[in-house]
Amino acid sequence: MPAKTTARARPKNLRHTLARLLAYMGHAKLSLLVVAVLVSISAVANLVGTYMVRPVVNALEQGRPEDLPGLCIFTAVVYALGMLSALGYTQTMVRAAQKVVYDIRRDLFSHIQRLPLSYFDRTRTGDVMSFFTNDVDTVAEALNNSFANLVQALIQMVGTMIILFVLNWQLTLITVVCDIILACYIKYSGSRSGRFFAAQQNALGSLDGYVEEMVSGQKVVKVFNHEAANVAEFTERNEELRVAGTSAQSYAATMVPATVCIGYANYAIVAVVGAVLAINGMVDVGALASYVVFVRQAAMPINQFTSLGNFLLNALAGAERLFGAMEMEPEVDGGTVTLVPTGERSWAWKIPDGMGVGAYGKLVPVDGDAAAGDAAVVPADVPASASGALAQSTARAADGTVVATGLIPLRGDVRFHDVDFGYVPDTLVLKNLNLFAKPGQKIAFVGSTGAGKTTITNLINRFYEIDGGEITYDGIDVRNIAKADLRRSLGIVLQETHLFTGTIADNIRFGKLDATDEEVRAAAEAACADSFIRRLPQGYDTMVTADGANLSQGQRQLLAIARVAVADPPVLILDEATSSIDTRTEKLIERGMDRIMEGRTTFMIAHRLSTVRNADAIMVLEHGKIIERGTHEQLLALHGEYWELYQGLKELD
């Protein structure tokens, strides 16, 4: 992934980012307060210690050598205090910083879990990864090093200025003028360097893009003996970056000598003017001696501020990206209907009290007196049942219509009513889609890539929000069902099997975290995975490596099926579950699949027509519309799109 190598990213909304960062730092309020106090002590001790040159020199000049031991002991005590404070604040700071960073990482990860899938569609994994690697790191580093340094530099600068004024305010005016010149230069230079850095950034982007493309295609490069040509192209871009980078870096590096030069000039002028004043008896030598030491010190915090400033701005830019991600709109939920168990393996949707499910799954308030007689209404006559709600008790809504209340048994009845949907606004992928699946039915979707097959299944479990129409599940609009419960009732097997680091049993248990060993085994048996698992070196305890590299594609697919089996959902979604498996292996898996599908409403998307033959209904999709629907036999007799596909005259792509 192209890393964020933005050498000089500037935060866009500094105040907001700072406010949020400060809020996080508030988590370690007490520690940071301690740090601030200790840093102040340490900085003041440093200043006082340096200042002690003056009383010592003056005491000696004025012939009071007996003061020397006392002054030295005082200095030592001050310094010891400073050192101990430094020990204290560095240790406290490390812990405070880690606490803050820990919280940021936790909240960031937690929030990312709540983001809708559309976010992951448009954001590359590498970019999200770089939140955790680059951005959190820069923030952590800034906290580790900069906070204390910043307080210290601030105190030192203010303190030095005060001491300078106290020692000799006339000379200090010179220093102030020089500092102003320095500040102006830094500002001017900063605004000019942007151009150079933009050029560097462009060259870097061009090189990164090239590297990414070519390294991804490295095997093709080898096959075509294209290495030399590649190196030539790379060399060109590499050189471009070198030249642009050299300009930018040279420019950035002029900052230090410029500040150093102004510092020296300041020192020289102060020395000369001071000497003239001293000769004329307007300052004592001791004051001048310690004064010039301070003048040199005065330049130091300014230098430090410059580098700290860049560092901090960089960190704040990182923090801004983090907070930006944390402010991303999470998935909308808002569902109030929940899933409750009603028996060993039976579940029901629980409608919140005082509400009822009406036509098209709408949730409406009940008008108060639930007429007892309404319970006797035949479900088919109830408007709610028109969308599939099999009510056990009913009531009347304000407009007098009968609505379903209390518990609605979970059966797996899914209907689409005039559904419109687009991944991006204004581009509909599905238009006015209508379909229904009765409990236990097997519905298959066929069509080329981009026709909208996966989209349909993604809408049932609310991976995405529809733009128009309704989707009802057992008569309830899916938007009224608590998302977690909705998804818990839907089992999904994806084309890509994602295995997690852990044992085989852990991976199956992902479907039901509290599944017993027996349940895991039973699920594996149901999925026809038990036999191969038992042949693995450690059976169910065999460790699966990151992407399941030690398992074949077919075996991984079987694990995914076992995972669904252990979750035991009433509705199944099989999204090209077997398309990456060869036909012979598919045959072997088929038995497991058939067993799992038994008695469940199943939506299946298939790449091979052979797998959808015995579906109750096959939907042929094209450009977001169902162009043909019916059983296998009906569709063949139609001599349409399905027939062409079946004959191999067209290919699903």
């Binding site: 040279s250 030069c261 000769i279 036909t583 290919e651």
Partner: protein, 596 residues
Amino acid sequence: MPELRRLLSYMGPYRRDALLGALAVTLETSIELIIPLLMARIIDEGIVERDLGIVFSQGALMLVCALVSLALGLAYARFAARVAMGLGANLRQAEYEKIQTFAFGNIDRYQTSSLVTRLTTDITVIQNAVSNGFRPMIRGPVILLMGLFYACSMNMELAGVFFVVLPALAVALGLITFRVLPLYRTLQASMDDLNGAVQEDLTAMRAVKAYVREDHERNVFAHVNGALGKRSTTTFSTAVLNVPMHQLAMYTTATLVLWIGGNMIVAGRLTVGELTSFMSYVLQIMNSLMMISNVFLLLTRALTSVRRVGEVLDEKPELALPAPDRAIAAVPDGSIEFRHVDFKYSAGAESNVLDDIDLTIPAGATVGILGGTGSGKSSLVQLICRLYDPSAGTVLVGGHDVRDYDLPALRDAVGIVLQNNVLFSGTIRDNLRWGAPEAADSELLHACELACADEFLGRIGGLDGVLGQGGAGVSGGQKQRLCIARTLLKHPRVMIFDDSTSAVDMATDAKIRANLASLSDVTCITIAQRITSVMDADLIVVLNDGRVHACGTHDELLAHDTIYQEIYASQMEHAQAEAAAPADTPAAEGGERDAR
């Protein structure tokens, strides 16, 4: 440090800039150290003697010093930038060239994203370390040495303090570093764990959401997050001990100098001006030590990147090339022979991917390879163009061991259309010319015709049509056909198709095969999922678990081989069912045959 030596060795022509830059910094630093001397003269000779001439001349000298140091600083800025960027460019170049020599086996060991990071971010980290660390790296030691020298020459007795404090400080810093280095290593491991957890979560996001496992993932993350937090605290709390340690040394020195110096002034063996200057040396020397240890920390952080880049640079290309003078420069014909070939991807792997393969394919033959996922089909064909070397046995092409050929010559003669193929950004013409750099448009178009890519060429802008990164802009089936055309342009003696028409419809697939059959003298090897794609090959090889299960023609295999029968049944079942049905549609199987 071997890492440092590596960096130096890649500096190349920029070594001159490094030396000049170092010289500039050294001079600049020396000037900085002269300034306290000038100051001492202003106080001791100017003020005490009331000599304005000395005050002004010394002041003017200071201004000159300021200007000279500005000039030196600007020069240094230029040199340092050239060094840092030049070193980065050289490393990147070397790394990229190294990757070009990688065999498939080497490529497999790295993830693409990891290789990209090593070429981009890691180099940037190194560059930053060099450009930020260059000045203090030179300045620190120079100030230390010169400061000590001046301090000693100013007053040996007073300078004695340094020789007590500095060694003690060195020992203390050494101890801290000694403790911290291994901690950094474990810290890195914790960081890897955290990144691994995030990556796993992100790639499996659909599964996580579908199973409502967000809380489970949060727990997993909390675990690694906590571990990282704890490790970081341990590591950094040890590392920051160097701050109070430095202060202890600096403050001890300052107090001692004040005490001893004060007494010396009382005794008349030291002037006030000297004490003042000496104090500024104390500050400078101690700061220089801080500088050195900061540079050290900066470099430690970059060290990981140097090591990661180093891993790529040190990677040994897996294929041993024959001596150029003994390498066979041309492949005489397209015959292929496998003699007791075993193969596994890494020496440490438990079982072979291919086991005792014996196979003879005459020149010009058409061969089909069938087998389940993971049966070793792709591995088998990749040995022919020597993308990997067998772990035992010999692969011969044109009667010679593939290891005896000049590698580019072999790969020019054996064209392979990879399963996971890619096109690159650029025009269609650019892409096709990968196969034949000098080819005229007419040749390119002819290849497109053979690969049935001419049908859609007009729709994507012809040869001038532009593709995006990774060949974006064409569909899967179109991409496969362009990839075939690209390989055809090499005019190879052996052509290998690794499941390369999977997204092409059957009719077009058949047409491509017919076109290829018209090429004389070319051995064609096709890996396919569809039995119809290989049915009329001269020889069909059925692989199972890395072994040749059966070899023969379609009819022979259908009669005798169980696996072939099963595959046939799994694909033909619906067609046969259809044929048996009274429907008035032609049977799929027949339909496909007709299409031939």
